[in-house]
Symmetry: C3
Subunit: 434 residues, 3 copies
């Protein structure tokens, strides 16, 4: 190995490893964000879902998912199907394994999004089955189509770090699963009006948001994965030619998303809603994720503003019109925000993508979105028909921590609704006073 190739490989390996570690840490972000937004009686259940995503998801994606993604790439690119090639990473050695790790961290991020949509009523076995399905098949199909030279790649569909492949998929899958499972008890009244079921800790939700923001730098900036490369004429910067753009638009997307969601909520309620600020930051991050390599910075700011502004509006639409109980708002935060960035970027990019590109982007959204909704619907419907998807009414009322996990999250703290609220803020918790 020549001098320079060792340095090039070493530097690239350092970078991709650190990016992978940062994306791994997003698990702590998901766990805290979701736990903070559920009732105290369901917190351990929510935490368990993230741990299951991590443990089961990584094993499944190693043994099956990454290979399936390669197969889908081969198939839809019109290549011949060579299973041994598709699974060659299993025994590929050091560099293949580093690359797998990076991909595996993305897989369990996609899977974890859904966890926030089905909170408070999903049976652990249903969640386990879903985890196996998304990391072994649903997500790998999208990866194969977009990132492994498959059909959508050949069309020219652009999704840099997973605006559609990860966030669009996660948001749509979460919405579908929440719809099939039905709302938590007490979430909607007989006249169709909705009750707010506030989460048990804003502190944990904000902590989760900030951990996710930190990890997102690994997610987005890390997708500029190749720092330098060997060329015929020597070493040159590779993806790091544009790495500053990715870092800047990720930052601006987050900041404008939070500000925008905060302002829209303030105009509507005269309150500065901490959770909308936090979720708006995430929506802004999601918005730029798919196209962070090609957005101008004013374009990124606009995507952030739109992604943040649509959050309270789409959340209300899902709640009041669709009457779907998307507990952690995963559809507006990940779904619509992810799709938004994917679709509008041709108008906001540094390049000269034309109307044709809009069509290609829409086609990618439709294909991945359709596949996601269908697969998720089939799986949760099948689970429902078998009586395995949702916990019983009694268990839901008592809380999943006690009935599915045999534990209390906070055994020493008296738990119950607070009493110092003014009347207009009285809430139901979906259980205790059932």
């Amino acid at each position: 190995m020549s001098d320079l190739s060792a340095l090039v490989n070493g530097l690239n390996l350092v970078w991709i490893l650190i990016a992978s570690f940062l994306i791994f840490f997003m698990k702590a972000g998901f766990a805290m964000l979701e736990a903070g937004q559920v009732r105290a009686k369901n917190v351990s259940n929510q935490l368990t879902q993230t741990l299951v995503t991590l443990c089961v998801g990584l094993i499944v994606y190693f043994l099956a998912g990454a290979g399936v993604a390669n197969l889908v790439g081969q198939l839809t690119a019109g290549e011949s199907l060579v299973v041994s090639d598709a699974f060659a990473y299993l025994w590929g050695g050091s560099i293949d394994w580093v690359n797998w790790l990076f991909g595996g961290m993305f897989a369990i991020a996609a899977a974890n999004i859904v966890s926030g949509g089905v909170a408070g009523r999903c049976r652990p076995r249903m969640y386990l089955a879903y985890t196996i399905a998304i990391t072994g098949l649903i997500y790998p199909v999208a990866v194969g189509l977009v990132w492994n030279s498959g059909f959508l790649a050949s069309l020219g569909f652009h999704d840099f770090a997973g605006g559609m492949v990860i966030h669009g998929m996660g948001g749509l899958s979460g919405l579908t699963a929440a719809w099939v499972l039905g709302p938590r008890i007490g979430r909607f009244n007989e006249d169709g009006s909705a009750n707010v079921i506030p989460g048990h800790s804003v502190t944990m939700a904000v902590l989760g948001t900030l951990i996710l923001g930190f990890g997102w730098y690994g997610f987005n900036v890390g997708t500029a994965v190749k720092v330098v490369q060997l060329t015929d004429s020597g070493v040159a910067l590779a993806d790091f030619e544009y790495v500053g753009r990715v870092a800047l638009v990720t930052t601006l997307g987050m900041a404008t998303g939070g500000l925008s969601a905060g302002l829209v909520t303030w105009v509507r309620t005269e309150n500065v809603d901490t959770l909308y600020l936090a979720n708006g930051m995430l929506a802004g991050l999601v918005g730029v994720t798919g196209v962070a390599d090609v957005l101008t910075w004013p374009g990124a700011a606009l995507v952030g503003v739109l992604a943040g502004a649509q959050l309270p509006i789409v959340f209300e639409f899902v709640e009041k019109r669709l009457q779907i109980d998307d507990v952690c708002a995963v559809f507006p935060v990940h779904g619509t925000a992810g799709i938004l960035g994917i679709v509008v970027y041709p108008f906001l990019s540094t390049g000269s993508a034309g109307l044709a590109q809009v069509g290609i982007q829409l086609a990618g959204v439709a294909l991945i979105g359709g596949w996601t909704v269908l697969a998720t619907f089939a799986l949760f419907k099948f689970g429902t028909l078998l009586g395995q998807a949702r916990v019983t009414r009694d268990k839901e009322v008592a809380g999943l921590d006690l009935t599915e996990h045999g534990m209390e999250t906070y055994p020493e703290f008296g738990v119950g609704d607070a009493t110092n609220l003014n009347d207009s803020a009285v809430r139901t918790d979906g259980g205790y006073d059932d």
Copy 2:
């Protein structure tokens, strides 16, 4: 681009990006540290302040602050004022944007310090105005004077990673703002004696401390920003010639600061006070921040010991003599500790800085300190005159979460003072029994 310059640039970019991500993560540290030290009724308000600092601060520092810092550098160095140069980073491309990101993370760290001083009674609009002012003007002036070749740089003022520019400024600004706003209801009695208003969660405060310690490695060690450089004779280590010193003295400053504050408190109260240990670690970190590139390690240990030891003493002075309600102790942790390191370093450094350097250091402290106090005072006084600075008495008593944010942080946990305290520890909370 030659082989080696691509490798040099790639490696330096990797390092500065990772340092920036670490400093970003300090947001989670500030959020948890401050939230843990306020009452349960004000936690969401406190978290919101950090989110506002992040979202608004980054946008303002991108569109204005970084350019203002450049302008101040031009002006006070006697150069001609070229606005287009000062704002050239806006369209400068990848490397400029990475450098901006690094600077932006410092800006929102400085801004966030003040948040802990004004906790529990500051109107969100006042905090918003303050955030715009510090990231758009107050902090950039200091950056221009010290780091952008301005007046203090020309004197030889030494502030490596922001002992004065960030921490001294933040601590003084927080003290000034807390003073103008006045203390929380119930904090002081009519006879001038003080009541302790304990924060709602030591766990969150300690978590925040440890996150800040982690991020501080990005802050201090990351300020050794250039790993390698091209020279006439090839590649050489650049700032990484001394990077081990920065890493060591940062670590020793933190450890000796915590130990020292803990011991002083133990001598005074016979208790091992967890919060003083934690805040002592931060004071030690602050102490070495300004001069971490030039301290000997025994010097760093001494700075840590002094920074930790002054913490309980200065806190008591601020509380009992000045009767200022500096909720999260930002003045002793960031202000006096930051100034301490800046001033004493000529006696503890590897170099041969003489008495003249002490004068220069004092001049820098006076200039930046004076500017900070004046600007903060003017802003909060103006807000007070307009009746916009402080929430009403009723809102403060009920808590800012409910009255400004329309939410409870912990809707399921009964909140109120615990009852299993011995009499000598009875506390007031500044509201509930008002």
Copy 3:
């Protein structure tokens, strides 16, 4: 300095610094994991133990421990004892200090493990004495024997990142200390049956687990410490030849450990126990730590499965047979899991280690384990004889936060056992109803 050596040094320094920062962040993981698993009345005490480990441990390891490790290496390798060489790092300059930092972070990880075993009844001064002993002597002896060319190194004992040197030692030391201190009041009944004393927050325990998982990448993958190196024929990858293996087996160990502990618990109790899932992940990580550079990935998966599966079984054995109150399960998580990986690896490695290697591994476990148990026993027994090891019965009942630290962790939350438990889950808390 030639071109390439500066690049090689710069890249290696960047990597080791980042690994050190990640290991530092494990402090936050230990603090949260342990705090979550103790009673609300002892949380600040538990947090304080981690802060003391950090502050005191780093100072002691800098002034003494690292040098003692070098001395032990010299002595047991049959070299002549040169104290000035052993302590040369103190004034060694930048690269020596970076290397010390990396080692120091390992030292305070080892020390922190014990904190979870002695929770809820150890006097702060006893914990302080123990911290000085382990970072100044107990741990350095093991480092000298294994990593500083000492006796066990000369035998060929293999411990990559501290499966025995750190985790085996921590687990055995914690078990020994918990045994000498005796169980918390109420932990065991007169008939020998055990009462569960649940921790106060599963949320914090899971957060701590995920932070530790994140930091573990620095711990294990970072132990592949040399990215590239200069050779006679130029630059070559160094430890990064196999870095992908370390990253993969660390990930698979964690995932299979969690899954395995979760399944075993589910079979035994029909509950999905969140804490066993979390601690199983840690046990899996511990299992592969000692041999992550040489395990095949199926071998790593098997080690993870075994490490996770033994956790509930060994925990029950310690509790019911040995009647030792190992509060945070540090013996099964760190002790047996660490030893397991060390001992079984010859059968699961890429190399052709034979039965002789099993003997060498067992010898290393016996030597380090014996030293650890003896030293810990002597220290805690001595403390007990002096009446300094354990808090008084009254203090334990009232809680260490109030009696040793003069504070409440959660002054606003009513604390006491929850009431919505079914009868079979009624618990004692070791104090309130005493």
